[in-house]
């Protein structure tokens, strides 16, 4: 039997694995935000076909368990689409697909929270759709979008542990491997849990700070370019 002290020698591997977890979830969040923005613009567009396509996507990926989405990309995609994805790529795709469905709803709510008068002022000022979105609607929507986005990131970070199932050795998988090597027990999993908690809590705190900074200036976001 090993003692708890000998777990220390595994710590470099654990922290490397934590890095992979953060990298995987960050990548999924970025891709999810980009996809979510596109979906939200489709959902709020004047074209019915675009609205329906986005709606279908969102409802689909919101309603399927993330594990099944992951299996689809890892086991299904090679058969159906001929894509041979690595475990990392499949996990990124699955997490992004799920995150984008959730982000699109948050971004859509943000866009719709900005009153019609703002669109009309921007249009009357001669702005195109893109200019109005970027300079008038977007900055105001951000205040509504940011708080739930932090929650989505925390969720994605925790969801990324399912990548361990298809053999991607991130934090959870590393904990399980060490546990085997260490003759069972729960100590290493407690450490893994603590690391998840610390990272998630830090993100939550950082989100709170960002949110407060946005509210400080009287009524909203500062625009650095003006």
């Amino acid at each position: 039997m090993h003692n708890a002290y000998s777990l220390l020698e595994y710590m470099p591997a654990v922290f490397r694995a934590l890095g992979l977890t953060i990298w995987l979830s960050w990548l999924a969040l970025i891709l999810g935000a980009v996809g979510g923005l596109l979906l939200a613009l489709m959902r709020t567009s004047n074209f019915r076909v675009l609205r329906l396509m986005a709606l279908l996507y969102v409802e689909l990926f919101r309603s399927i368990p993330i594990l099944i989405i992951l299996f689809f990309f890892f086991y299904g995609a090679p058969l159906i689409l001929g894509w041979n994805l690595t475990a990392f790529a499949a996990a990124t795709a699955a997490l992004s697909a799920h995150a984008s469905a959730l982000m699109s709803e948050v971004i859509r709510a943000g866009i719709e929270s900005v009153g019609r008068g703002q669109w009309e002022a921007a249009q009357s000022n001669g702005m195109t759709y893109t200019q109005a979105m970027r300079h008038v609607i977007g900055p105001q929507a951000m205040q509504v979008i940011l708080p739930p986005s932090v929650n989505i990131y925390i969720m994605v970070l925790k969801e990324s542990s399912i990548a361990s199932i298809i053999g991607y050795v991130e934090l959870t998988a590393t904990g399980l491997v060490i546990r085997e090597a260490h003759g069972g027990g729960f100590a290493i999993l407690a450490i893994v849990a603590l690391l998840y908690f610390i990272v998630c809590y830090a993100i939550s705190l950082a989100g709170g700070v960002l949110e407060r900074r946005m509210k400080v200036a009287g009524s909203g976001l500062q625009m650095d370019e003006l």
Partner: protein, 247 residues
């Protein structure tokens, strides 16, 4: 002046929301330098008329020509029309995430490609003209209604529009701030700008307006020089309306 080429030509305009007719066969011209005051009971299509001219509403019949170009709400060239028209809204619609100065700068920079320094100078100049230099760095939430509307006027003037449209600019204001907004509007009027103003301020219309157009139920009922129309309305409907206004 009446022989000049119209800047705005409206021919047989019809606007419907579903089966409800809001504007019913309206024709009118506005020539450069004219200050046309649209008056009449609420819900008679005065604001809708302005919104049609700016392409914020689609039209169901007739046509609108601004500087000889047709105004079509969803066409690409509507941007060109809007760039040359300044619009002031009843609810101000300032950008709440930007300071007063940034509100006046935004369209200059984003739409007209003016460099930031020039845009800021012009913003400061215009804020001085609406007597708000001391509030240039304030966000709209920190400004009174009258101050917000004066910023909105500066914002509309920033891109040097060929026509200004005011949609009940003082209707959402506290009585004590109405005067400061009207004072600014009088000054702008004296510069010879073309203005189309929907208002219930009859004194303002009489003093500043070059023409008054009385609308009811989506139609132009009567028009003429403001003082004349106010003193001697010819139609029974205008008489009734003006009686309620004068008390």
């Amino acid at each position: 002046m009446m022989n000049a080429t119209p800047v705005l030509k409206i021919d047989n305009l019809r606007k419907q929301f579903g089966s409800r007719v809001i504007i019913d066969d309206i024709s009118m011209n506005v020539v450069p330098g004219e200050i046309v005051c649209l008056v009449g009971p609420s819900g008679t299509g005065k604001s809708t008329l302005l919104r049609c001219v700016n392409g914020l509403e689609s039209i169901q019949g007739g046509q609108i020509l601004f500087e000889d170009k047709p105004v079509r709400a969803h066409a690409k060239d509507i941007i060109g029309v809007r760039k040359r028209i300044g619009m002031i809204f009843q609810q101000f619609n300032l950008y709440p995430h930007l300071t007063a100065r940034q509100n006046v700068m935004l369209a200059q920079v984003v739409v007209h490609g003016v460099d930031r320094k020039t845009a800021a100078e012009r913003a400061d100049h215009l804020l001085a003209r609406v007597r708000l230099s001391h509030r240039a760095d304030a966000y709209p939430a920190r400004l009174s209604g009258g101050e917000q509307q004066r910023v909105a006027i500066a914002r509309a003037l920033a891109t040097n529009p060929h026509m200004l449209m005011f949609d009940e600019p003082t209707s959402a204001l506290d009585p004590e701030t109405v005067g400061e907004v009207l004072a600014v509007m009088r000054e702008i009027a004296q510069e010879g700008r073309t203005m189309l103003v929907v208002t219930h301020e009859m004194r303002f219309a009489a003093d500043v307006g070059t023409r008054m157009v009385f609308m009811d139920a989506g139609k132009i009922v009567e028009e003429g020089p403001p003082r004349e129309l106010l003193a001697h309305p010819k139609t029974e409907r205008a008489q009734r309306f003006l009686q309620t206004i004068h008390h």
